[in-house]
């Protein structure tokens, strides 16, 4: 295992310590339980937007804490959702009296831990709304399964809900905007290599030189299918077409496009992919109104990428364009 770490069991805490040193003007870090809150928390009268999940997806979520995005992030151990007490402690630190919005990726663990925390909050009289992100079209959707998992749309939902909350929108409205984002966004990813969970010390799976995993999530898990390695253009077409077909975009629709690296993929390759994505969208008369290209929701050092498209209207673009000051998103 080749990693720039000290102790596999302390990676989360040491990375958080690094963030605390690096961004004192943007955020504060608490240990035991671990959470990150914006430097000026709590904001009186403002809905507090809280997200969390396993670590190993950096910059998500802690890198999105700051003005105009998250009030708090709850980082669990690597790939393991945070616990209810951790979420509750973060919630207490950012509660401004206007209620809490939980942005939760649809994984059994995340859903249950946030649900328990939400139940506790509600018992204590603190209003909570939860927005569930389940955008991965690689996963078949059905009433009888865990449903689709949450991936790239999470980043977009955190930005957009964060902007609405910052502007003073009430909880019900911030939640409604978050649900709209969740409904209108879709993602899909591929992996060229596995990643190594530090405490495990070896790759979660092994992939021959000429193969790739299609329909991966962000936890180094194998995907839906293993196929021969293809060209960047073919991969982009496959991912984009699956997304287009799942969320029918009409001619003339506008989207925010996220071309996301999984952690070990050079930026150059993401540009090559964005190039083909832009062509595909143009062919369908879909306008990419905004884009993000880079490592935004990762799986440690995995090589691979994911595409996310979010259908937007003026309202969502307005919130997207609103100022944001976090370590990883800044405008």
């Amino acid at each position: 295992m080749k990693k720039l770490i000290n102790n596999p069991t302390l990676v989360v805490e040491e990375a958080l310590a690094g963030m605390a040193h690096a961004y004192p003007h943007l955020l504060r870090v608490n240990f035991c339980p671990n959470y990150v809150v914006r430097a000026d928390a709590p904001q009186r009268g403002k809905v507090a937007v809280i997200a969390g999940g396993g670590s190993g997806h950096e910059p998500m979520h802690s890198g999105y804490v700051g003005v105009g995005m998250l009030d708090a992030a709850c980082p669990g151990p690597i790939f393991t959702s945070p616990t209810p007490d951790q979420i509750l402690a973060a919630a207490a630190a950012v509660d401004g009296g206007a209620g809490l919005l939980f942005i939760v990726k649809n994984y059994t663990g995340d859903v249950m831990n946030f649900a328990i925390a939400a139940e506790e909050c509600q018992l204590a009289g603190v209003p909570v709304e939860t927005v569930l992100i389940h955008d991965d079209v690689a996963v078949e959707d059905s009433l009888y399964t865990a449903g689709r998992r949450g991936v790239g749309v999470t980043v977009l939902a955190e930005k957009i809900c964060g902007a609405a909350a910052e502007a003073g929108a009430p909880l019900s409205e911030v939640a409604a905007i978050g649900r709209k984002v969740s409904e209108q966004g879709r993602s899909m990813g591929v992996a060229l290599t596995s990643c190594i969970v530090p405490a495990v010390g070896r790759p979660t799976f092994t992939l021959p030189e000429d193969e790739m995993e299609i329909g991966i999530g962000i936890h180094g898990e194998p995907g839906r299918q293993r196929v021969a390695l293809q060209s960047a253009d073919e991969i982009t077409e496959m991912l984009a077409t699956t997304i287009f077909d799942d969320l029918p975009f009409t001619r003339g629709s506008r989207v925010i496009a996220l071309v996301n690296g999984m952690g070990g993929t050079p930026l150059m390759e993401l540009f090559i992919i964005f190039r083909r994505l832009a062509e595909l969208c143009e062919e369908r008369d879909i306008t990419i109104s905004r884009n993000l290209i880079g490592n935004y929701i990762t799986a440690l050092e995995m090589a691979g990428c994911s595409l996310t498209l979010l259908a937007v209207d003026d309202e969502l673009l307005h919130w997207w364009d609103a100022p944001v000051h976090t370590p990883a998103l800044h405008w």
Binding site: T83, G109, N113, A138, A146, T204, F205, Q225
Partner: protein, 220 residues
Amino acid sequence: MTSTSMLGITVLIDWMQRYADKITEHEPLLTALDAEIGDADHGINMQRGFEEVRMRLVHERTDDLGAFFKSVGMTLLSKVGGASGPLYGTLFLRMGMVAAGKRTLTPTEFASAVAAGVEGIRQRGSARPGDKTMVDALTPAIIALHQALDDGATLCAALQAAAIAGEAGMKATIPMQAYKGRASYLGPRSIGHQDPGATSAFLLIQSAAESICAAEAHDS
């Protein structure tokens, strides 16, 4: 015979310690199983939780079995994370509700407590048998436990029967396709792998059998 058939705090602590040992021993297996159809952390998650349980056992002595189970449940809830944290946490919290205020449990009371715990898991996770989860080990184990007690077995014998049923249930997850939890994302590719949570669940029943049989043997 009465004294051996009543469970007190000592045997329950022994259960938790045995299970913590077993988790440490099988951590690599549980994690490897989770690497195949999940995210390679189930053993790590369980070990983090039960190391904390083990530590608390040293410091928090209580004779109230309800308080004891609740403490275990809260520890798991706040230490394990992931899917297994809330599920195992719920199991012990529900056992704690059944045992609230009691210093001993009869075999039937113990079985009811476990059944309530498993019911809690099913409510929290809404998995049904056949979804390839820990429920597939726990459900047959509970049925065997009650059946054996109804047939007049000692708790030791009944738990041994439960462990055998739980092991069969665990193995039965191999040919299943997952419909809940992280393994469900693999679709048909989840077939052919043993569920990690069903494995840790079987070990939990097995530990219970070992602790209680050791206590019965010692007392008789």
